[in-house]
């Protein structure tokens, strides 16, 4: 497995990349050869894809990420997360597996969580009465994604917190 940190220039060059809907899978051998030919480009593509995934998640939640995932339910994130912010000062770690068609991505981030005071307890009722139906908090997390190469792009197989 090779591990490289992508740089911003790579991502800027490929920043407009968004994954296209999953096309017919090309033969694994061909995909692997393609990835092996230019691993830095593959890693940059993954990094760009994940930035787009986070952007879409913040804009519309899991549903907005449908085109970037290989199937439903791969965004394995706690339900109380309302937004994710990738740590701007950090670079993602992107590791291509030896098979060249799977990869592992991770990035430090801030998770904005929202706790709704929607229960029957008196404390929650009184919080709602005061105009505080929920509270948000932020915590440092590490986002982790497992990726798979498709015909002309990468898709997310699982996105979760480390």
């Amino acid at each position: 497995m090779s591990t490289l940190a992508t740089n911003r220039r790579d991502m800027l060059k490929l920043g407009a990349l968004a994954a296209v809907p999953l096309a017919a899978l090309a033969p694994a051998g061909a995909l692997a050869a393609q990835a092996a030919a230019n691993p830095a480009a593959e890693q940059a593509q993954i990094a760009a894809l994940m930035r787009e995934a986070v952007r879409r998640y913040n804009a519309g939640g899991v549903a907005a990420c449908a085109g970037l995932t290989s199937c439903g339910g791969v965004l394995d994130l706690p339900g109380d997360i309302r937004a994710l912010r990738l740590a701007g000062e950090a670079e993602p770690e992107v590791a291509l597996a030896d098979d060249q068609v799977t990869a592992h991505w991770s990035h430090p981030a801030t998770a904005v969580r929202e706790y709704a005071f929607d229960g029957d307890s008196t404390a929650e009722r009184m919080a709602r009465f005061q105009g505080n139906p929920a509270v948000q908090s932020e915590s440092a997390v590490t986002l982790v994604a497992e990726m798979r190469r498709t015909a002309d792009s990468w898709t997310i197989r699982r996105l979760h917190l480390a």
Partner: protein, 573 residues
């Protein structure tokens, strides 16, 4: 129910008359002409015109004349009262032929002024004509040197204080100012019970020394009580307006002297001295957030309770926001067996068959399997709870068992109480444990305590979900909900009981009567500043027993023992 001016039953049980606006007007009419009563002499202002201009441009003109007569905006004249504390003069009057009056706090040094319009009935936010509405303006009195700088304003500076005010009427009250939007008070002379109550309040800074405090006894009599307090000299002058339990009009001014009872910590940012955290600036005249828990409480009959319990009972089977910071349940009772012999009560035998399953039986009866949760809050001391299925009142027992001393105490929660069948009643039962390896305490028992009296603890249940308990009297627990800014916000209170388990370990319960109906129980470990407890609740969503657990902070303690230490604790309902 005996009708009394000051009921000898909890105020939330008293059926205050639904006075009509006409009733109110009739009672106000003679009082308006006479002006407020007073034990001591009221002051007389020299004949003059006073013009108040508020920051929003509102203008009020009073013409004062001899014989303590005043006319507002050319309306009919009426009697007024005036009392001065240091350089603040409090003036009060009613407007004849109306259901409204005014209270003016006038700084004689710089002409800053605050005006309260007080009125009964529509239009206004109060749901009953007997409850006083209030609207507030800050401004100045024209003439002389106009004030510079800030006008009077709501403040958080009073928050955290407690003062015992002794009025010249002979009435003494312990006022707890634990919130910047509510207050809690215990009448020492009008009621023998020593029970505390909570209501919406205003706190307005006049000067560094002088503050305005008001409270409305919303949800009860609807009475208005206000005072100008000199925090340094502990002097006050006040106004009381409204109707007592016999519907007699109380319209009087008073002087008082205070005793400083202490100051607890505040939790706003250090530089934040702002007030009125529950303001509704865009609301209609007089609007503010008045917590009215009875309005939102499920009110059920015994038949509805039985139906709800049968349809939905949740015993420790779901997460609770009230226990997000709680300790994990312990499995240490699994495999143990003992019986609890309650003094003058049942003998309940237990076999703990798993970490969350026990069998119990009363006397020599059949064993019943029940789900339970337990926490070992201090080594050797367990709190556990379970439902006693089949009991006609759907009893839930929350037991603190000290396996090292052999003592046990139970807060028994039950339903089908007289006022609302889903409102939890509570009974405190003292007893001892009988089982292998458990010492026999003989006649020794856990005992009621006033160790916590006057203390305030904050509780962080889950991120952002916090409260502060005020252990305000031996039979009262009050709770304050913090706003996001850390101000004390809404506050309410109910019957409470306090039992000492060990040094720095206390078993406390409160009943949310006429307010959600929950029985709250917690075992407070002051050494770890963590509690473990159980909430017992029934509503239209069914019956539940759920965990309570929070991080604690000691906010402080007021010295109220000499006024409240002899009051009785541990009411059954």
């Amino acid at each position: 129910m005996a009708r009394k001016a000051y009921p000898d039953i909890p105020l939330f049980r008293y059926a205050y008359t639904a006075l009509s606006e006409a009733d109110v007007a009739q009672k106000l009419a003679p009082a308006a002409m006479a002006g407020p009563q007073s034990i001591g002499a009221l002051e007389e202002l020299p004949p003059q015109r006073l013009s108040f201009v508020a920051s929003d441009g509102t203008r009020l003109d009073w013409q004062f004349s001899e014989g303590r007569q005043v006319a507002l905006q050319g309306e009919r004249g009426s009697g007024y009262g005036a009392l001065t504390v240091d350089h603040i003069t409090l003036i009060a009057h009613l407007v004849p032929g109306t259901r409204r009056g005014y209270a003016l706090a006038w700084d004689r040094h710089d002409n800053r002024a605050t005006v309260f319009e007080l009125w009964f009935g529509a239009p206004g936010p109060a749901p009953q004509p007997r409850e006083v509405n209030r609207a507030i303006w800050h401004g100045h009195i024209e003439g002389g040197t106009p004030p510079t700088g800030e006008l009077h304003a709501p403040t958080g500076r009073v928050q955290g204080r407690a003062i015992m005010w002794a009025e010249d009427t002979g009435n003494r009250t312990v006022d707890y100012y634990a919130s910047s939007a509510f207050s809690h008070w215990v009448e020492l002379d009008r009621s023998d019970e020593g029970r505390g109550y909570s209501g919406p309040s205003d706190y307005i800074k006049l000067t560094e020394d002088l503050y305005l405090y008001t409270r409305t006894e919303a949800e009860f009599s609807g009475l208005w009580h206000m005072l100008v307090m000199d925090a340094n000299r502990l002097q006050c002058a006040g106004l009381r307006l409204g109707f007592d339990g016999l519907d007699n009009l109380e319209y009087y001014m008073f002087r008082g002297t205070g005793e400083w009872l202490g100051q607890i910590a505040n939790f706003m940012k250090f530089e934040d001295v702002s007030g009125d955290p529950l303001a509704m600036p865009d609301g209609p005249k007089g609007a503010r957030r008045v917590y009215r828990p009875l309005e939102t409480m499920d009110k059920m009959t015994p038949a509805e309770v039985n139906e709800a319990v049968a349809a939905s009972t949740h015993i420790f089977d779901r997460a609770s926001a009230m226990a997000g910071h709680g300790l994990p349940p312990t499995a240490a009772l699994a495999g143990k067996a003992f019986a609890v012999h309650y003094d003058g009560g049942p003998v309940i035998a237990y076999r703990f068959t798993a970490h969350d399953e026990l069998q119990w039986r009363e006397g020599g009866g059949e064993w019943t399997t029940a789900r339970y949760n337990a926490w070992e809050n201090m080594p050797g001391v367990f709190i556990f709870g379970h439902l006693l299925a089949g009991k006609p009142d759907h009893d839930g027992h929350v037991v603190v068992a000290d396996l090292d001393s052999g003592k046990a105490t139970c807060f028994r929660g039950y339903l089908n109480t007289p006022y609302f069948a889903n409102e939890a009643g509570a009974q405190t039962m003292f007893g001892k444990l009988v089982g292998d390896g458990i010492p026999d305490p003989g006649s020794a028992r856990h005992e009621r305590t006033t160790d916590l009296l006057g203390s305030a603890f904050t509780w962080s249940y889950s991120p952002g979900l916090t409260s502060m308990h005020v252990y305000s009297s031996p039979n009262t627990v009050s709770w304050v909900i913090f706003t996001p800014s850390g101000h004390g916000g809404a506050q309410w209170s109910g019957s409470g009981d306090y039992v000492k388990i060990r040094d720095q370990l206390y078993f406390v319960r409160w009943q949310e009567e006429a307010c959600n109906g929950t029985l709250g129980t917690i075992l407070i470990n002051m050494r770890t500043m963590h509690d473990s407890g159980i909430g017992y609740h029934c509503g239209k969503n069914g019956l539940s027993m759920s965990p309570v657990g929070a991080y604690a902070r000691l906010a402080g303690r007021w010295d109220v023992a000499k006024y409240l230490g002899t009051k009785r604790g541990g009411y059954a309902v």
